[in-house]
Amino acid sequence: MSINNYLYLSAILFTIGAVGVVVRRNAIVVFMCVELMLNAANLTLVTFSRINGTLDGQVVAFFTMVVAACEVVVGLAIIVTIYRSRRSASIDDASLLKR
């Protein structure tokens, strides 16, 4: 099968993630959708690394994972504080700041 399919797959995953961010309310889920997008990117990178026959792509992928991990730390911290003070993880509740 053509290696391009990986690209299509990753593109689809990315889109799913993006749409997820837009449609889902729960902060955690939204955040996971973002993670999904990141991983889609990773998949793309790896695929290209294969196509191009250079390792850089995979290196980037590793970096991405590390960075994503950091993001999780920070992100969860924030989400948890919000949850504690609001007793809800719905991002639509957090809309004091507007206009």
Binding site: A18, V21, V22, R25, I91, D92, S95, L97, K98, R99
Partner: protein, 629 residues
């Protein structure tokens, strides 16, 4: 041309008087009037001096000039402040300063009770100075300065008692209507500069021949407009009647003897223009003819003695303009009538003033009557003036007016017949209304109640009247003896061949006298033999009513100009507020409202922001895609 450094004093003396009296203020109250009179008199003396010198010189170098300084000089537009005194202007100089001085003297007593007398004399001097500048300026622009200067002086004097709203309005009216005339003058100057490249009398005279007739006609018509404004000719005559708001000496000096005749001066001075522009000339005579009838008719209906005299002034100036419009043949006679009129009309105004003085400022002739006994001197001097104006030989008016009528008849063509007969008819009507004035005031039965104590005026007042009366008796005879004035002015005009005589002088004179007699007779029957009621009867013919309303001049002006003007102003004020400024404010509002609309995109929901980003990304990709393809 001969230069003479004395000319400036003619103007400087009265100007100095005006300034010092105004600047010193109340400090000069004690002696201000004396200073002013003295200065005016000395200016007159200078005038006489100049005359004697001029007489001593040969005809060709009688005109003298004095260059004071270079006034305006930009590119080819060069105007010096310089004066020109020639045979024409000397006449005016003497008239202005002479009559002016007399009226100064008269006013000393006439205004003695007014605590602003000093200011009055300051204005008088200011007027003398401006008027002299008007007749001495050697270019149209210099003349313009004097032209508006006298306008200012007349504004100040008409409004001298401007605490009375009506008087203030009258002065404003005079100034504005004069400005319309002044506009004509500035047009004339612009055209002269644009087409001839000069605005000096000599310069324009040189080019007059080889400029296109159209140009000269344009200049001529514009000068006529100016003359019409200043000389209260039809259709800009409406201000003169109201101008009688000013103290009577003012009416005598400015609105009878001098300023209002400036128009005649302008036309005669510009003879070279009108000689080259027949059309303009025709217009001049038409205006003159219309106005002389207009004034005469109004004069028949006025009960206010000053207004009656004002109407007569208008009509008499009509005669002069008519004469000036008749070309070289008429110039001299126009001037002559101007001079004689200066004497008798000033005299009569002063007489009127003296009557008012004796009658507690009552101006309604219907409340006069039988004053002959109470103020004999006034009666006599006024009478001489009267005889002069209606043109009874050998009084001044007879000579000057006859000449005009004669010239009118001999100006050739059907035009001549029309003008001549108009002039004749005018003479008759003049005789009628002046007789009316005479009778109502002096001879008819007493119509004033007993709290009036008519009395003769003090010498300071009757002396000038007497002198002017003498003038009105003799001046005509003197000026026309051996056609002295004609020859005197001759060199200034280029004479064309005389027209064929339509009527001989004898015939004209006799016709004129006939008409006069007619007019007098009617007046006598109507007012002397039948008694007059003290209040103007209201059950009068429509014509009388119209005549009383100055032939509806004010109604017409209001309907045609004032009201529309007010409407336009009001409209523009609204437009400025709502449309012009509204547009600007609208733009501001637009920005604000669009801002608050766009603001709604900021919903506060993370998901909508994410949506925005997503869409944005999509659009971005699409855009780049489109461009790439």
């Amino acid at each position: 041309m001969v230069t003479n450094n004395g000319l400036v004093y003619l103007i400087a003396l009265p100007l100095f008087g005006a300034l010092s009296l105004l600047l010193l203020g109340r400090r000069a109250d004690k002696w201000g009037h004396l200073l002013a009179t003295a200065l005016s008199a000395s200016s007159f003396a200078v005038g006489l001096l100049q005359l004697s010198q001029m007489l001593g010189r040969a005809t060709e170098n009688r005109p003298v000039t004095q260059k004071l300084f270079s006034w305006i000089s930009v590119g080819s537009f060069k105007v010096d402040a310089s004066l020109l005194l020639d045979q024409l202007s000397i006449c005016f100089v003497l008239l202005i300063t002479g009559v002016g001085t007399l009226i100064h003297i008269y006013s000393i007593s006439y205004m003695s009770h007014d605590h602003d007398r000093r200011r009055f004399f300051a204005y008088l001097n200011l007027f003398i100075a401006a008027m002299l500048l008007l007749v001495l300026g050697d270019s149209y622009l210099n003349l313009y300065v004097g032209w508006e200067g006298v306008g200012l002086a007349s504004y100040l004097l008409i409004g001298f008692w401007n605490q009375k709203p009506a008087y203030a309005t009258a002065s404003k009216k005079a100034f504005v209507m004069n400005r319309i005339g002044d506009m004509g003058l500035s047009f004339a100057i612009m055209i002269a500069f644009a087409s001839l490249g000069t605005v000096s009398f000599t310069g324009v005279k040189e080019h007059a021949h080889h400029a296109s007739e159209a140009t000269m006609t344009a200049i001529g018509i514009m000068l006529l407009v100016a003359a019409v404004g200043k000389s209260a000719q039809f259709p800009l005559q409406a201000w003169l009647g109201d101008a009688m708001a000013g103290p009577t000496p003012v009416s005598a000096l400015i609105h009878a003897a001098t300023m209002v005749t400036a128009g005649v001066y302008l036309i005669v001075r510009s003879n070279f223009v009108f000689d080259a522009a027949p059309t303009a000339q025709l217009l001049v005579v038409i205006v003159g003819a219309i106005t002389l009838m207009f004034g005469a008719l109004v004069g028949t209906a006025k009960d206010d003695i000053k207004k009656a005299l004002a109407a007569s002034t208008m009509s008499q100036i009509g005669y002069m303009i008519l004469g000036a419009g008749l070309g070289p043949a008429g110039y001299a006679f126009a001037i002559m009538h101007l001079l004689t009129h200066g004497f008798f009309k000033a005299g009569m105004f002063l007489g009127a003033g003296s009557v008012m003085h004796g009658m507690n400022d009552e101006v309604n002739m219907r409340r006069y009557g039988a004053l002959r006994k109470f103020m004999p001197i006034t009666f006599i001097t006024f009478g001489f003036g009267y005889l002069a104006i209606i043109g009874v030989p050998p009084f001044a008016g007879f000579y000057s007016k006859d000449m005009l009528i004669e010239t009118a008849f001999n100006s050739g063509g059907t035009k001549a017949i029309l003008l001549g007969s108009t002039a004749l008819l005018g003479a008759a009507i003049t005789a009628f209304y002046m007789t009316r004035v005479m009778i109502l005031t002096f001879t008819s039965t007493k119509r004033w109640d007993d709290n009036q104590h008519p009395h003769e005026s003090p010498i300071l007042m009757w002396l000038p009247m007497a002198i002017l009366a003498i003038g009105s008796v003799t001046s005509g005879f003197l000026l026309s003896r051996g056609s002295a004035l004609k020859n005197w002015l001759e060199p200034l005009f280029e004479s064309h061949g005389e027209h064929e005589e339509l009527l001989s002088p004898m015939v004209v004179s006799s016709l004129a006298l006939l008409m006069v007699a007619l007019g007098v007779a009617i007046a006598v029957m109507k007012y002397q033999l039948s008694d007059v009621d003290a209040v103007a009867p209201q059950d009068v013919s429509i014509f009388t009513r119209i005549a009383r309303r100055d032939l509806l001049q004010d109604d017409i002006n209001e309907a045609l100009f004032m009201r529309p003007g007010q409407v336009l102003t009001a409209a523009l004020v609204k437009v400025d507020e709502s449309v012009v400024d509204g547009a600007v404010r609208g733009i501001g509002q637009m920005a604000i409202s669009s801002g608050s609309t766009l603001r709604r995109t900021q919903t506060g929901f993370v998901r909508s922001y994410a949506m925005l980003i997503l869409v944005g990304a999509a659009v971005l990709i699409a855009a780049i895609w489109v461009v790439t393809q």
